[in-house]
Amino acid sequence: MSATIIDHHRLKLMYDRYVRYLLFACAFLMTFIILSIVIFVGQQGLVTFTEVSPGDFFFNAKWDPSEGQFGAMSFIAGSLLATLLAVGFGAPLGLTGAVFMAKIAPPWLREIMRPATDLYVAIPSVVYGFIGLTIMVPFIRNYLHGNTGFGLLATSIILAVMILPTIISISEDAIRAVPGSLEEASLALGATRWQTVRRVLLPAAMPGILTAIVLAMARAVGETMAVQMVIGNTPQLAKSLFMPTSTLTSEIVIEMGNTPFGSAWGNSLFLMALVLLLISLLMIVAIRRLGRGSVV
């Protein structure tokens, strides 16, 4: 009797060990996937350099595949400008919202704003793009006399809305995580709530806030559908906010369908994807440096 119990227990322990290996395999699959992505996209993209010189690709704005011109500078510039402008519009609003949710909002309002930020994330990017296309673009065209209405202004406003939830939720967590004793000490010294927020809470929460901003940038630079619908899709360097231009993502999504796989044209689109991939990986490294781990 006791022997079977011991056997049974041994079996359970053995089972325990194999489950552990299985779970580890699941976890290690993450590393396997990200490495495969870097390798496959990288390999396909780097083939481009057999036909196009790196200098031409990065520092030439002339994109005309039928003429063998593969200069992606205007797309890279478009992506970076749209991202920076989006953060410029979105970060102040999002950060103020985060301070409001963490310190000012009455509990009932906070209970509304939490699901609201989740809803912001859930709205599909094509819907953001469609709203941009049907409201923002005509508005810019008719009231700001902005040419066709397509361009960096429309793009960065839509992106600013799309990155709000990232900035709000991560900054709010960071502000909340500041020890209460710091805040109490400041208030006890006679500082007003605004002074406490500005001089104590925001500086203490700065690593978290910067993480939020970097993640928001990662989201903005990778956003495809909404951008493609309002940027105008013209391969030229934008000289103003109202000029139709293009980004890395919008160019890939428009042209990929028409390009033969393995051609110089197709490969240069993969190279653009590789540039995007490297930018987002760089941002992860930046966040790690900022000292906070959690993403998504």
Binding site: R20, A27, I34, G97, I104, A116, G257, R288, V296
Partner: protein, 287 residues
């Protein structure tokens, strides 16, 4: 002293204003889409076959494909993500390998979806020969869901107090018995909320599916064939606005927009509220 107080008042007012703008933009986006799209929604539109040239087509196959691809990708991603999340929450130490896994998960979560789409195109279509199909789309979408689900799982498991585990282990249960019978049931409410939010997000995903599931649909309604092309609602919205030739594309786009908004409202409000209530009851704490 007076000016500091005025500054405080002004700052508070600005913060309220920011909150009103944030809620107002969201509300106006949702209401605009519903206002424009609800009149378009009819039984014929929701279940009918799409038309390429003439007006009056429906989005039946697209609606079906959206859910079909979503369910498939959740089926593929959930078991793996559950395993990985449990490993990170319950087993992982602080060694180099754990660091590498965490870094990989975070990196995967920030890879732009268009890049995942191109990767899926190389691997599932060119190397594995699955074609532009529902299966390729679902597999690629899996890559997008996995890192989010891993994080959801890890957080839900970490939220379970450690004395639950200690009590179980002290009674002689093995580690896996403890995880499966004690920790998992208590992590379930958080897990369900997280899965629903992830599914709601995946539902509207577009960039990843254009080159893997395609922009055409099977001619048979409700086709379960894994190798049929599987255009989804969100992809169709993009397609009719950008490339489509139908004269009533604005109506179709408005209708799809409303359908997508209704779906995410159901996912975000109706499905997550029971999970949140369950969580409050079971843990006695607020989220």
């Amino acid at each position: 002293m007076m000016s500091a107080r005025i500054c405080d008042k002004i700052a508070t007012a600005i913060a309220w204003l920011a909150a009103i703008v944030i809620l107002g933009v969201l509300a106006s986006f949702l209401l605009y889409m519903l206002y424009k799209g609800l009149p378009v929604l009819s039984w014929h539109f929701i279940t009918g076959m799409p038309s390429d040239i003439r007006a009056g087509g429906g989005v039946g196959p697209e609606l079906f494909n959206s859910f079909y691809i979503l369910v498939l990708s959740m089926l593929f991603s959930f078991p793996v993500a559950l395993g990985a999340g449990i490993y990170l929450a319950e087993y992982a130490g602080t060694g180099r390998v754990t660091e590498l896994i965490r870094l990989s998960t975070e990196s995967l979560a920030t890879v732009p979806s268009i890049v995942l789409g191109l990767f899926g195109m190389i691997v599932f279509i060119n190397y594995l020969g699955l074609g532009i199909s529902i299966l390729s789309g679902a597999l690629t979408l899996t890559l997008l869901n996995i890192p989010v689900l891993v994080r959801v799982t890890e957080e839900s498991f970490r939220a379970v107090p450690s004395y639950y585990r200690e009590a179980s282990l002290a009674l002689g249960a093995t580690k896996w018995q403890t995880i499966w019978r004690v920790v998992l049931p208590n992590a379930l409410p958080g897990l369900i909320t997280g899965i629903t939010l992830t599914a709601g997000r995946a539902m509207g995903e577009t960039a990843i599916l254009i080159f893997t599931a395609g922009t055409t649909v099977s001619r048979q309604a409700g086709d379960f064939d894994l190798f049929a092309a599987g255009e989804t609602l969100a992809v169709h919205l993009w397609y009719v606005m950008g490339i489509g030739l139908v004269p009533d594309r604005m109506e179709i786009a408005n209708g799809i927009g409303a359908l997508l908004i209704i779906t995410i409202l159901i996912f975000n409000l109706a499905f997550t509220i029971p999970g949140r209530m369950l969580q409050k009851r079971m843990t006695g704490t607020r989220q």
